[in-house]
Symmetry: C2
Subunit: 161 residues, 2 copies
DNA sequence: TATAATTAAATGACGTGTCATTTAAAAAGG
DNA sequence: CCTTTTTAAATGACACGTCATTTAATTATA
């Protein structure tokens, strides 16, 4: 059958995303957080005082302006927003004390997930996949997210393969 | 930073899924279909007369019984359902003529996606990734989907790496 | 056989993702 | 300075994806 490897790759990616998301969802439920909300906390923990648009530019979970996502976090007291003084249209957001506290737990849950990944793959195997996946991502709009989030720093170009 | 490879892998998977889904969404929009709906058509093209539960067991896009997904396709005339004679609770679904026709176009769109993948990866690279991704999937509930869909048949075990 | 337990599907609820439209503020251009 | 264009954010709409609950039919069991 033609495209067998390509089809398998397509559904591997879909399945991996689903299974990872479910694993995160389960563990985050104790915190009353969704994976998307957790990603916002992570972004705001790394860089504070971002506008909605800037937050969107740091997220992989959503394009455009993640109004509802962030507003839910504001409503739940995890994020605080202040109107920008230079630009009355924009609001700048940061973690509240409660948000910072929750993020610490989110970090532990993420590390659980990473431990799970580590239990299946060697670092070398992860490196191989990351090198290859990066090749695809670099041709997409997400390339800038990885750059902004510093998710691609420190990569060593593989000599083998 | 600890877990750097693992974190990168996590977001690579998320970004790959998003970008692939968007690419499919754009091309399927001309057909008035979503990627999930297209997956149902593909499943029903491969195996007909499945119940809702069985369809769900062949889908990666959704767990549980995909009532609404399939009912939308019935409403749009792409899928037909008849009550099972042995079990009055269950309904068995198959593609309508219109559905078969649409699937032919869906197949072309999928092949476009696979051509795109091919333009970025060699078959050897795809094979490497598939071998590794399969290791993860095999430990999840999706393992049975890949088996049922025959998405893992014909894999040659890699000797290298 | 009558009742209880199981099962298939439908449905309600909620939070995304995505796109299109609207609103209001800022910038650009005359 | 006023009008037009651009821009940030909010909002409406729609289809998921997920979970919990309900409904109805089937099976198990006392």
């Amino acid at each position: 059958m033609r495209y067998q490897q390509e089809e398998q790759f397509r559904f591997h990616i879909l399945a991996m995303q689903r299974v990872g998301n479910r694993e995160l969802t389960i563990h985050l439920k104790n915190l009353d957080l969704t994976p998307s909300q957790a990603e916002v906390l992570t972004v705001l923990n790394e860089r504070s005082m971002l506008t909605l648009k800037e937050i969107g530019q740091h997220l992989i979970c959503e394009t455009g302006s993640p109004s509802r996502l962030v507003n839910t976090l504001v409503k739940n007291g995890l994020v605080e927003g202040k109107t920008d003084e230079q630009d009355q249209r924009a609001r700048r957001y940061c973690l509240s004390d409660h948000g910072k506290q929750k993020w610490a737990t989110v970090k532990q849950i993420e590390e659980q997930l990473y431990e799970h990944v580590q239990s299946i793959y060697t670092e070398e195997e992860l490196n191989v996949m990351n090198q290859l996946l990066k090749k695809y991502i670099e041709q997409t709009e997400f390339q800038s997210v990885f750059r902004k989030r510093s998710l691609h720093v420190g990569d060593s170009v593989s000599e083998e393969l």
